[in-house]
Symmetry: C2
Subunit: 203 residues, 2 copies
């Protein structure tokens, strides 16, 4: 295999983002997450701050309301549609350049006609809550109690699922959408990186 | 980790059984599949042939019929219940002896209080059909056309799912029931064995 293009989907708090960073470092290839938003803001009409606020979110006006209609007429693109299209074009351009790691952004679906390895990282709700509580304390000195963090995690995952299933014909987090699904519960971030490396070496 | 106990769930035709055999060989530990049925027939009232015919099947009389009742009264154990209990006791006894690999038989659930690694092997329907057609030709010189093999595979998977979800509180083939889920589509049997080995080394 000449190019190694890896996409990583992840449950919030499972450490999927960190797995992506460390995997890219180990393989010495680019990692596109925040870097994608930076590049996108350079190429599109949207400011980076706006893109970061709206990444992996479906515009609520885009979703069907009670009558089965959306608030945006069919012929008019919503902001999230425009971002998705610009982002997808950028993902394809970067994938054509060579090996890299993408996290989220439906990259697996966008690159479905490319030779890509699709990974999903997950973990138990308990360990995700503990991980996010620890990170919040370390990075912002803040405490968030179990039940509040639980609600927050479930909300973010619901947004990711809605976004993924709105823009793709695949099921978010369902094994059939991926080549490899790894829980970080027992092996942690570095174990997941080693397991993915071994999977790639077997191709 | 002193003991390495691995359970493998698998979609029919994905090669999960072969992954189990090769993994056990690589790790130089016992593999329990047919061997489990042999041991069970020695220890129970059931003949090996009967056990093989009924392995991973729920007795139809056990399942609720239209009225919500089963044909077997609650106080009476069905054959499948008896086999499941004997088999579970045997699985626990073998797991206590040391490292080993179990395939199917809800071993992940039976050993839920043990330190166990739970794996699920899957593959696309197309590659499973092709694999089973090839094996049938090689082993029995028979041909089975695509649509017939498709039906057969779906039927076996439905039986496995019913059995698993009748005897456990987990979802068959859902990533949350396992530590690692691997598709054999791109990396094949040996690639899956290498990936599991790497996962285990990270523990």
């Amino acid at each position: 295999m000449n190019n190694t293009i890896i996409t990583i989907g992840r449950e919030y708090g499972s450490g999927g983002h960190e797995v992506g960073i460390k995997l890219a470092k180990k393989l010495n290839i680019p990692f596109y997450d925040k870097a994608l938003t930076e590049l996108l803001s350079e190429k599109s009409e949207f400011a980076q701050e706006f893109l970061e606020k709206n990444e992996e979110k479906v515009d609520i006006l885009n979703l069907p309301i009670i009558t089965g209609q959306t608030l945006i007429p069919d012929y008019q693109q919503s902001f999230s549609d425009k971002i998705f299209i610009d982002q997808s074009n950028l993902i394809k351009t970067l994938a054509q350049k060579g090996s890299c790691v993408f996290v989220g952004r439906c990259a697996d679906y966008v690159l479905k006609d490319y030779n890509v390895i699709n990974i999903f990282i997950y973990a138990s709700l308990d360990s995700r809550i503990a991980r996010k509580q620890k990170l919040l304390k370390e990075n912002e000195g803040k405490d968030l109690e179990y039940s509040q963090m639980n609600k927050h995690i479930i909300k973010i995952d619901k947004m990711r699922k809605s976004y993924y299933e709105y823009y793709t014909d695949k099921k978010w987090g369902n094994k059939n959408s991926y080549d490899l699904c790894i829980s970080t519960d027992k092996i942690g971030i570095s174990g997941a990186v080693e397991t993915i490396s071994s999977f790639i070496s077997s191709l």
